[in-house]
C-alpha cells in the first residue's frame, strides 16, 4: 500500500473586513457538512474552529507497536485522565485543584492516551459545573470526528414518530422519508461499511464491503436469529471500497481503530477534515479560521437578524468579529447551546433564538454501562486468529418496544460488542494466580471471550438542561455551562433489562456467562449528547424548525445534534450529517431566492 500525502493549499488568509455569505461555527461532523454543502452550492463560507489544526497523522501513528513507544502508549507524566470513580465521587469542575499538569476526560485514559493528548481538551482550561457529567470534548479541526467510534446508523420512524408510537415526548417535524435521500447522499459521499438486514427499525444504508464476524459472533448471530433478534457486523462510517476523495484511503483492516481511542491516519474512517473540509476548500469557496473561539452571535439591532460572530483568538486572547449574511452553528450539542445562551442582547435578553425558553432543555443522550461477558468454551486453546483487523465488532439492533410493550420502560436499546483475539489479553487482569499455569491460562483463553454492552435511549425531558454558570469562566473569560442533568427511572429500568437480556442472549447461544455488569456509567459517558435546541413545528416548545432554522431569527441555523428531538438508541453521527445536508441545501436555495 502506498500512501500519498497531499500538501494542503495554504489556509486562506482570513479577511474579516468582508461579509461572507455564511459563517459556520465548528468543524466537526455538522460544521464540516455545512461547509461542504454550502460551498458546493457556490456560497462563500467562513468556517470558524475553536481549536487548532494539528498534524493528525503524526499524532495517531495508527500502526505503532506498544513496545515502540517509550511509555507503551500512555501519556507523559503529569497528564491525568479522570477515572470512573472520580466522576462518581466528585462534582464538576473535575480538574479544580488538581496537582496534575493536564487533566483529560476518561477517554484520555484508555488504549493509548498519548495519541489523544493533543485532541482532547485540557479540563483545566475548560471547566464546567453542576451535576456529574463525563463531558468529552475535542477542540481541533474536525472535532470529535478525529476519534469517533465509527458506528454509523440510521434512525427510523420508530424514532422520528416516537410520540405517535408510545405517546411520550414529541414527534420530530420530519419523517424517515424526508431524510432517507440525505442518508443516501452521506453514504455515497463518505462511504459506509455494513450488511443489509432489512429491518424497519434500523434501515440499511448503501453499504460498501461489510466487516467480517469472528467465530463467536457467527455463533451468537445464528442463535439470536431464533429469538427474532439481529446481530449484524458493525456498521462503520469507514470506506472499505474507497471513495472519490484524494485525501482518503480505503480501509486496509489494520485494526488500529479498535486498539486506540479511535482515529485513522489513512482516513478510511470518516473524519470531517479529509471527508468534508479539505474537498470544500478545493472549491475555492471556503475560508478557514482556526483558534477562533466563538462566544457571541452578533445581532443587527435594526432588523433583529444575526450579522456575524464575535470570537476570541485562542492564542492571543484578542476579540474579533466575523461578518456574514447567514450564521450556522455547529459547535456541538452543548457548545451550540452555550453560544445561544451567551448571545444576549436587547432583542434577545434570554439568548438568541430562545424566545421559547427551550434552549439548553430537553437535553438527552444514550445511557450505557450494563453488559455481559461470555466465554466460548470451544474456542479455549485454539490457534490465534486475526479477529481485530476490521473497523469494528458487531451491533445488536434494538428489539424492545417495537411490537411489544415492556412493563418497566419505554423506548429501546441496542448492543455494541466485540470478541476474539486482540493485541492485549484483557482477561489477564482477572486470571488468578501466577506462574506457568497462569501464563498458559491467559494464552489459552485470550481469544475465547465475547462481550457486549448496551446503549439505550435517554428520554428527552424539559427538566434535564444546561444553563450558564453565573460565576465560573473558562481560560478565555467565557462563562461556562452548568449541568442540571440526571438519568431517570425509565433509564434505570431499561438498564436492568439490558443486563438481563444480554445474559439471556449469551445463555441461549450456549455461551458461558462469566460477567454481568449492572453499573450505569456516569451521565455523558456515551459522548452522544443531543437535544438542547430541538426542532419542532411549534415555536413555543421548540427552538428550530424542520430545517434547523431558528423560529425567531430566520438567518440563524443550528445544524448539529442539539436539534434532535429525541435521542433514539442509534448512534447519532450519520443522522447529524444527513440533517445538516438537508438543511443546508434548503438554506442555499432560500439564500439564492433572497429569503434569509
Amino acid at each position: 500500500m502506498t500512501l500519498i500525502r497531499f500538501k494542503l493549499s495554504q489556509e486562506q488568509d482570513v479577511d474579516l473586513s468582508r461579509t461572507y455569505d455564511a459563517v459556520v461555527v465548528g468543524s466537526g461532523a455538522a460544521g464540516g457538512m455545512a461547509a461542504h454543502v454550502l460551498t458546493s452550492q457556490g456560497m462563500k463560507v467562513l468556517l470558524l474552529e475553536a481549536g487548532k489544526k494539528i498534524p493528525i497523522e503524526q499524532e495517531l501513528r495508527s500502526m505503532e507497536w506498544p513496545y515502540d513507544h517509550p511509555r507503551r502508549g500512555e501519556a507523559p507524566p503529569g497528564d491525568h485522565a479522570i477515572r470512573y470513580n472520580e466522576y462518581t465521587v466528585r462534582q464538576p469542575p473535575y480538574a479544580k485543584g488538581s496537582a496534575f499538569k493536564h487533566v483529560f476526560s476518561y477517554v484520555g485514559g484508555w488504549g493509548g492516551s498519548d495519541y489523544v493528548k493533543n485532541i482532547l481538551v485540557d479540563e483545566k482550561d475548560h471547566p464546567y459545573t453542576g451535576t456529574r457529567y463525563a463531558w468529552v470534548r475535542a477542540r481541533l479541526l474536525g472535532g470529535k470526528t478525529n476519534i469517533w467510534g465509527r458506528l454509523a446508523l440510521r434512525l427510523s420512524d420508530y424514532d422520528f414518530k416516537g410520540k405517535t408510537h408510545d405517546g411520550y415526548g414529541e414527534d420530530w417535524p420530519i419523517s424517515y422519508a424526508d431524510l432517507e435521500p440525505y442518508y443516501d447522499k452521506v453514504d455515497l459521499y463518505l462511504g459506509i461499511s455494513g450488511h443489509k438486514e432489512n429491518l424497519p427499525h434500523l434501515p440499511d444504508s448503501l453499504f460498501q464491503r461489510p466487516n467480517k464476524l469472528s467465530a463467536a459472533e457467527v455463533k451468537l448471530r445464528q442463535s439470536l436469529k431464533q429469538m427474532g433478534r439481529t446481530l449484524t457486523p458493525y456498521r462503520a462510517g469507514v470506506t472499505t471500497d474507497g471513495v472519490k476523495n484524494k485525501y482518503r484511503s480505503k480501509c486496509f483492516g489494520r485494526g488500529a481503530c479498535g486498539r486506540r481511542p479511535g482515529g485513522c491516519d489513512i482516513h478510511a474512517a470518516f473524519d470531517s477534515p479529509t471527508g468534508l473540509i479539505y474537498p470544500a476548500m478545493d472549491t475555492g469557496n471556503l475560508t478557514l479560521r482556526t483558534n477562533a473561539i466563538a462566544h457571541e452571535v452578533l445581532v443587527d439591532p435594526k432588523t433583529g437578524k444575526a450579522r456575524g460572530i464575535s470570537f476570541v483568538d485562542a492564542q492571543n486572547h484578542k476579540t474579533y468579529e466575523a461578518k456574514a449574511k447567514v450564521v450556522v452553528l455547529a459547535a456541538s450539542t452543548l457548545e451550540s447551546a452555550r453560544l445561544l445562551l451567551l448571545s444576549k442582547s436587547r432583542q434577545y435578553p434570554n439568548g438568541i433564538g430562545n424566545t421559547s425558553g427551550h434552549v439548553g432543555h430537553n437535553f438527552c443522550e444514550h445511557v450505557m454501562g450494563p453488559g455481559v461477558t461470555g466465554l466460548v468454551k470451544e474456542l479455549v486453546g485454539t490457534e490465534p486468529t486475526l479477529d481485530d483487523g476490521k473497523p469494528g465488532g458487531f451491533y445488536v439492533a434494538r428489539f424492545r418496544n417495537l411490537e411489544d410493550k415492556q412493563p418497566g420502560f419505554i423506548r429501546g436499546y441496542g448492543f455494541e460488542g466485540g470478541s476474539g483475539f486482540s493485541i492485549f489479553p484483557d482477561s489477564a487482569w482477572n486470571t488468578p494466580g501466577f506462574g506457568g499455569q497462569f501464563k498458559k491460562s491467559v494464552r489459552d483463553h485470550a481469544g475465547a471471550f465475547i462481550g457486549l454492552g448496551g446503549f439505550g435511549e435517554v428520554l428527552a425531558r424539559y427538566e434535564n438542561y444546561v444553563d450558564l454558570d453565573p460565576e465560573v469562566k473558562d481560560a478565555w473569560g467565557i462563562p461556562v455551562l452548568r449541568f442540571h442533568y440526571q438519568f431517570g427511572d425509565n433509564e434505570k429500568k431499561m438498564c436492568e433489562d439490558m443486563a438481563n437480556a444480554g445474559k439471556e442472549m449469551l445463555e441461549a447461544a450456549g455461551i458461558e456467562v462469566i460477567g454481568v455488569d449492572k453499573n450505569i456509567l456516569t451521565e455523558g459517558w456515551s459522548i452522544h449528547e443531543l437535544g438542547t435546541a430541538r426542532m419542532g413545528n411549534d415555536p413555543k416548545t421548540s427552538v428550530l424548525n424542520q430545517f434547523q432554522q431558528s423560529h425567531d431569527v430566520k438567518n440563524l441555523f443550528v445544524v448539529d445534534g442539539s436539534s434532535h428531538v429525541s435521542a433514539s438508541c442509534q448512534n447519532p453521527t450519520w443522522t447529524i450529517m444527513a440533517l445538516a445536508w438537508r438543511s443546508c441545501e434548503h438554506l442555499a436555495d432560500e439564500f439564492k431566492r433572497g429569503n434569509v
Partner: protein, 173 residues
C-alpha cells in the same frame, strides 16, 4: 462516538494498571529508580509470575523490571514509587520472618513458598506484602503483554497488519 465493551474493559484495565510513568524500557544495567537489590527482587518475582515456558520467554526475558523501573523513575505522583518501595520492604520483612533470609538470599523453594503465601490472598489482600503481590502482578501483566515477547512469541498476535483484500473472518449469512 461510541465506546465498545472491549474499550471499556481496557479502560478499567488501564485504571488498574500503573499510573502515568516513565522512560524507554531499554534494559539498563543501572536501575533508574530501584536500588540494585530492589531491582533484582522485582526482576525475579516478575519472572516467577510470568516464567519462560515452551511457548515463550518470561518476564525477565521481556525486560519487565526495567520497564517498571523506568516508569517509576519519572512518575508524577511520588506515592506510586514509594508504594513499590514499601511493598518490597514488606516482602523482605516477610522473608525474614518465614526463612530468616532476604528474598534473593532464599532458595528457589523458599521464594516460591513466599510468593504462594502472598498470592493466596489475591482476591482480598490484607497485609502490605499481600497488597504488593497485586501491585507487582499488575505491573508485570501490563509490561509483559505489551512487550515484543508477550505480543509476538506468547500471544502470537496476528493483527496490526495490512490486509489488502478481504478482512479475515466469516461472512454474516
Amino acid at each position: 462516538m461510541t465506546i465498545s465493551r472491549r474499550d471499556m474493559i481496557q479502560a478499567t484495565a488501564a485504571a488498574m494498571a500503573l499510573p502515568a510513568l516513565a522512560k524507554a524500557p531499554s534494559p539498563s544495567p543501572k536501575p533508574l529508580f530501584f536500588t540494585p537489590g530492589e531491582f533484582a527482587l522485582v526482576d525475579e518475582m516478575s519472572d516467577m509470575i510470568i516464567p519462560t515456558d515452551a511457548q515463550s520467554g518470561g518476564a525477565r526475558a521481556a525486560g519487565v523490571a526495567a520497564y517498571i523501573d523506568g516508569r517509576l523513575a519519572e512518575a508524577f505522583e511520588k506515592d506510586e514509587p514509594q508504594g513499590w518501595r514499601a511493598g518490597i520492604q514488606a516482602v523482605e520483612a516477610l522473608s525474614q520472618e518465614m526463612h530468616a533470609k532476604t528474598f534473593m538470599g532464599s532458595t528457589p523453594e523458599q521464594r516460591l513458598a513466599l510468593l504462594t503465601r502472598i498470592a493466596a490472598a489475591e482476591s482480598d489482600p490484607k497485609t502490605d506484602a499481600e497488597k504488593f503481590f497485586r501491585t507487582i502482578k499488575s505491573g508485570t501483566i501490563r509490561a509483559y503483554y505489551t512487550s515484543k515477547i508477550g505480543i509476538h512469541d506468547d500471544q502470537r498476535y496476528k493483527g496490526n497488519v495490512i490486509q489488502p483484500g478481504e478482512y479475515a473472518g466469516y461472512d454474516a449469512t
